[in-house]
Symmetry: C2
Subunit: 144 residues, 2 copies
């Protein structure tokens, strides 16, 4: 009977928790860009499509630099679309170990400021209308 | 009377809050590497010596890639020295806007797990003996 050898390369699949918490926005060269379903903050997630990656140091230099470029693109997108007070960029993964990078536009009037967003206030899912509007705004920003 | 023109380049200086909260460990090509004075976690800070940088996207591509390389080096240092359950890497800056990157070794028995470390428990400063031991361990790791 065939079995999965330790050397069988895993196929990349977005972690089901990330899939459940986010909406798809764009597919970059390395990462999927997704919108966190939390209207408290403009909050994006970059998920590199690399099977088995948990830490930044699991990436080869070329992929790391590509990830840096894609983070830069998302920082500029959020900065230009929202003029935030500060950007927060983080690869944590204590709950969802699959490598993913949060890029969050922060304002001094947002509900967690100045604390980091994680675990502060309950997520506030977008209404269908607000979701469509937000996704359209961000996709237009990516094209400009 | 001479005055500072808007075009006068600012000289880089480590933000006084970061200087007060950390101990110097090493000077990399781009960043100063410093140890956060909190024995709750192996917690390092990379501070790029670039005047006026607040966001990752304030860096040119070459400096961003160098920063990625130095983050990689610090992740490997912490992984090899402490075998943590997870690494947390973050550029936040809500309180100290000068660009700096946290690299933290996390364990499922640490006092904030699985939450991010910021604002969870009071910092526990190193004793002088523990500080010397920790700095020696990390400097040896950097040399190996």
């Amino acid at each position: 009977m065939p079995h999965r050898s330790a050397k069988t390369p895993l196929r990349y699949e977005l972690h089901p928790q990330l899939a459940a918490d986010t909406h798809p926005l764009a597919a970059f060269e390395l990462c999927d860009l997704r919108l966190m379903d939390d209207a408290n903050y403009p909050w994006l997630i970059l998920a590199p499509r690399i099977a088995g990656a948990h830490e930044l140091c699991d990436l080869e230099a070329q992929a790391r630099h590509r990830l840096s470029d894609e983070i830069d693109r998302v920082c500029r997108l959020l900065r230009d679309a929202f003029q935030p007070h500060k950007l927060n960029v983080a690869a944590l993964g204590n709950l969802v170990p699959q490598l993913h990078v949060h890029v969050i536009a922060r304002f001094d009037h947002d509900p967690a400021w100045p604390a980091p967003v994680w675990g502060r206030v309950a997520a506030r899912p977008y209404s269908p209308e607000a979701l469509v509007e937000r996704i359209n705004l961000l996709r237009e920003g990516l094209l400009s």
